[in-house]
Symmetry: C2
Amino acid sequence: MSAIVGPQACLSQAPDLQPFVTDYRGLYVGQAAAVVLPNSTEQVSQVMAWCHARGVVVVPQGGNTSLMGGAVPEPQGQAVVLNLRRMNQVLAVDTVNDTLTLQAGVTLNAARNAAEDAGRLFPLRIGSEGSCQIGGNISTNAGGTAVLRYGNMRDLVLGVEAVLPDGRIYSGLRGLRKDNTGYDLKQLFIGSEGTLGIVTAAVLKLMPQPTASSVALAAVASPAAAVALLGEAKKTAGQAVTAFELISGPALDLVLGYLGNVKSPFEARHDWMVLIELTSGASSESLDQTLMQVLESGLDSGLVLDATLAQSGADAQTLWRIREEISDAQTRTGGSIKCDVSVPLSRIAAFIEEASAAVLALEPQTRMIVYGHMGDGNVHFNPLRPADRAAKDYLTAFYEPISRQVDSLAHAAGGSISAEHGVGVAKRDDLSHYKSEVELALMWQIKKALDPQGLLNPGKVLPAPVAAQA
Amino acid sequence: MSAIVGPQACLSQAPDLQPFVTDYRGLYVGQAAAVVLPNSTEQVSQVMAWCHARGVVVVPQGGNTSLMGGAVPEPQGQAVVLNLRRMNQVLAVDTVNDTLTLQAGVTLNAARNAAEDAGRLFPLRIGSEGSCQIGGNISTNAGGTAVLRYGNMRDLVLGVEAVLPDGRIYSGLRGLRKDNTGYDLKQLFIGSEGTLGIVTAAVLKLMPQPTASSVALAAVASPAAAVALLGEAKKTAGQAVTAFELISGPALDLVLGYLGNVKSPFEARHDWMVLIELTSGASSESLDQTLMQVLESGLDSGLVLDATLAQSGADAQTLWRIREEISDAQTRTGGSIKCDVSVPLSRIAAFIEEASAAVLALEPQTRMIVYGHMGDGNVHFNPLRPADRAAKDYLTAFYEPISRQVDSLAHAAGGSISAEHGVGVAKRDDLSHYKSEVELALMWQIKKALDPQGLLNPGKVLPAPVAAQA
């Protein structure tokens, strides 16, 4: 192996392996025989061919920021972790075709910066953008706060290069918006969490840079009022509606306590709030006017109870910081049950009411940390331990029953039990409950067609096949 | 079979079969044992299971508007044509979730009307919209004139229901904008031209209805000037740029001759023109101003030679009619070599110059009918016989060498030899030249995984496997 990547790029001592076999929350710890850090697609191909010839398991890894244990090896075994961080070159920026071609190990931040330097926007926006990598964003079909306007990573990828389980290279680095020459093979590698191939490079879509943005936080009467306000915002501002994020009262309490130096934007305490961002190529004044119009009409109709419009970039940043630090505030507090669900917008309000009632029936002191990307139907529904209860106690007692309840209610509402976080190990076995037999069989048919030996990221995504599918 | 669908819905007499085994241009005539017209997913499933048990080949068919012979059976054989036209129900319109759920046999026009009745837009816009069906649009990943703004059919589909080659039903009729629970199986059925499953229903995205539009025709100095003008339009009007269609001088000559009663919008004759459409939720006056600004800056910089801005809806319709009738004008004239290519925008001008020179070197009297969706990199590059030469002569002499030249130049420019028309029979064997061995092998791996008996739409899309891939 070190003959392929060089001795410096092939680690096999336990202390060197440790950061690569442990996920960033420290919840999943795996075992590996080696970590390799190739610096080219050719090297990835050679490593994969070497492993294929010997039946060695390979776990592809980008920034190792998966919340689902998707990027670390299984607890037992002799896996090779193939980390792509050295493949961090931006290969081409094309401002006529509006495309960005880059290696998989470029971080999301670096990709966004490369776009900005060229006067364009790469719109994917997620919490881990400083360390997550484009290859991982593709493999997990990353989502985030701008999906409402720009779509998921799948919508932002025009071309993919990937190394197959036997080491062959699929070269699909095309920057075309229309190409109907046979099966769209790149789709296989988007969102399959490294189980079908290792993404080594990609061509991404660039967007015009918005010249103006307008941000407001509005207290709303209920989740149903939030949905109605979103309808109003879409009617008034059309595609300018870029983000529409829900924040529950307990989520605001938690994050303000965590941040310490940030004051609540409202005099009164509210049960539900939404962070709205409009962006466009128009002027900020006219965008502020449009957002004011949405908010005023909401105040008139009773959907909106109070609202604050950011008067400056700094104001807008503060509002966004409140939203973005909710996740860290939970991690620091400990004892939260993370359900990343999506439901059709027409059923999301009822879902939130029902799921909240179900959780509070189990443990009335639970803090209902509910927030996220309501505009695209995705909420992070994260019941948190009561302040006076130990995290471990709470999770032992409630992790199973609460997540099962929440997931089942989302599923019953036509929703998804993993909107953007993916499956990894964490949700793998849950798929048996929520996917049909046909869906699971199809997934295995594809897996076996592309990776008959089961060498790529085994134990992830696909629940163990039942006899009929084996 | 008639036990499943009823005797009225199972045709087997030659005259009854004829319209179902002939493509609409009359270029591909196949043979079938029967045509069945199921009226439910359950019936499609039963028909498919029946055929699967007996090794009978099935050709799924929607509106039968394929330009590539994709929807008719092979010339020899005992295929069953499964036509979906009776499955023409709109199942649900959800204006909160902005989704439209419908059966596969709903025509595109009917889908657009259902959206409009609900105050929404379903943005797919193609020439055959009166007769093509949603199932076919999905199976071929249809494109058209609004891809620049709204994407291809793949981008507009949230959920798919499909019957598999063994009759099992894949039920993916979900209306979610985020769902990362395993492989995105619907992608298998989008753009695979009925070779992996029969699409029976879908959930489509709806968009806000634009309240205003502004349309202009501009004469430009060259294809390069057209690309530069597109850049200006995107910079000035952002996402309002909805269509940006190229029209060559000979294409305008042809269509004006064909229409008879329509005058050229310009005093002088020009070699290249572009039809630009902006749409938005703003007012038409402000949109007209924006478009005027784009055109005036183009006139100042010499990109634009002359321009006419539609002063009314009727004006706009006339301009669009000129663009839309080019296809029919060619069909009536006969003797055109249809190359539906796409290239990155940064290379499209050079491609058009090179490919035109190559064609004219072969036959200098060829009329260069070049038009289409330049904004998304797609041009219909359709060399047409000289006026005094018989269609058959011209095609016999030049079809092969010209299409090979044009396709090769598009491929060399990082482009596609079939941007939106798909593969069908017409381009099937060409894929052997322009797809890598790995791509062809992957396509066959997927085909064999889902349809090991090769029962669904055989002879389409996939070129015969070479020994190593068999």
